[in-house]
Subunit: 324 residues, 2 copies
Amino acid sequence: MEKNDKILELFKEQKDSYLSGEEVSQSLGITRQALWKHIEKLRDTGYIIEAVPHLGYKLMRAPDKMLASEIKWNLKTKIIGKEIHFYESVGSTNNIAYELAEKGASEGSVVIADEQTKGKGRLGRTWVSPGKGGIYLSFILRPDISPNEVPMITLVVAVSAVRAIRKFAQVEALIRWPNDIMISDKKTGGILTELKGEPDRVNFVIPGIGINVNTPKGALPEGGTSLKEESKSSSDFKRVELAKIFFEILEEEYIKFKEKGFRALESELKSYSCTLGRDVSVTTGAKKKFHGKAVDITENGGLRVKLDDGEEKVFLSGDVRFMR
Amino acid sequence: MEKNDKILELFKEQKDSYLSGEEVSQSLGITRQALWKHIEKLRDTGYIIEAVPHLGYKLMRAPDKMLASEIKWNLKTKIIGKEIHFYESVGSTNNIAYELAEKGASEGSVVIADEQTKGKGRLGRTWVSPGKGGIYLSFILRPDISPNEVPMITLVVAVSAVRAIRKFAQVEALIRWPNDIMISDKKTGGILTELKGEPDRVNFVIPGIGINVNTPKGALPEGGTSLKEESKSSSDFKRVELAKIFFEILEEEYIKFKEKGFRALESELKSYSCTLGRDVSVTTGAKKKFHGKAVDITENGGLRVKLDDGEEKVFLSGDVRFMR
């Protein structure tokens, strides 16, 4: 652990009282001078730290940033988020995660950013990441699966995100199969999954997710919403807390998937679906568009659609829009 | 076209007579001095060029290298090999092609090397690339397919390679489904396909192939062979010529696949198979091993195996070994 992280840990253990500068520097084995430099560094990152002569230091407020040190604090996971790469602003967290994965980053590593300037959507589209106030992150996963099972990873992340949002913000988040997080039929989050692989096994999978948390109404794209908007909350949500809950739930669901297969998540996915029973259009790849009624989700996570011509078709991935 | 390529073109049009230095420099719009520098550069690359006062220059021999200029000469393709990246020695042509594809290299681009120091086999294994004398190349393809159709790309390349080898070296090359090129049950080539994609479409596919052409017996791994070995030829094959034939056939087969689907290659694949009717073990991903008899190839290019327990299973990709 780095010195800065250790100091933060001491602050957090201390809660509301003051930390003696002398005791801290002794326990870290550094000089008072060095401690002071670390405190300055933390202040640069956005921590408000009070210093009172004879009393010592006190942590007044942590910054509203998705800092690795904040997320890791008391995080109860063994895989997801054990390694966190934080950026104030990036083009796309997926691109960075992909590069890190190529260089061998371990399973469960997370790339997280306060701001995304070139957020990517599915099939080369843009995902609008309106300034700060959202969560933008990508996971590096190395499951022992083949490329045709990768759609299931999107669903594992979708189920986990919805569970986390419900627990955290008490709003009825739902999944528009396979990769959109919806509240009251408005989009509040989306998942883009990318992979590198050979024909029968993946090297790694990068599911990236964007969630509008505190994003103000004016900054949202048409048909979009945010957790703050939907929960009618007057104060901002603590995004760090949502990330923690999300990581813990994702780890649970991901391990379930790896041990028991997608079947173990099937009923959960169904219960969170806002797609079943609806008239939908499904676009696959860059190629074809289908119309029909979404009738079921299969044990592989596929969407069974009764097409307008009466035939039934199972989609393993695709782009779903609601008709009407 | 670069000046050097233009000079080579003039040499080749001239065939066996001398090129007047004055005429060449005039037609290229450069000084005699500049022409002389270009000739020196070509000599550095390995071209043997004679210079006779009053007569001019004559191309005596092209080097035995997979030079882009040599392969492109009279190459009758529109996609495959229009862009060629040649390296004397690389770690793995697949890795370089992957990087180029990430940077936007166009469909049909080829990465080719005289020597591979870290040749990659399937599932993280090593492909032995014994010194010079082989063909090591990777294609950048951007088909409009989903990741689960990628195994078909391996088969398109395998069928093309076998057709090219048969035409070029008059040996009975066969395919050990899905990615090995065999002669008399000995391995003379292998294909490693890698991909980047989203769940329902690929960004690009990189099929890489290694073929032992002139590789001497002593340098071959156990169970391996080379075209020279099998054809009992005393002189070395011209690898550049094989590459040209291969590129032209691959373009034909690839366009057939894109326009008509894999079904159009099914009967060809069957006729080149040395797998059907054999007792095989099939290993999928890093996971499971199956035993049985290979009974058919499906219209998707899958291998139908009658397992020892009597059940039939279709594999879309995997690692096949012959039993006995």
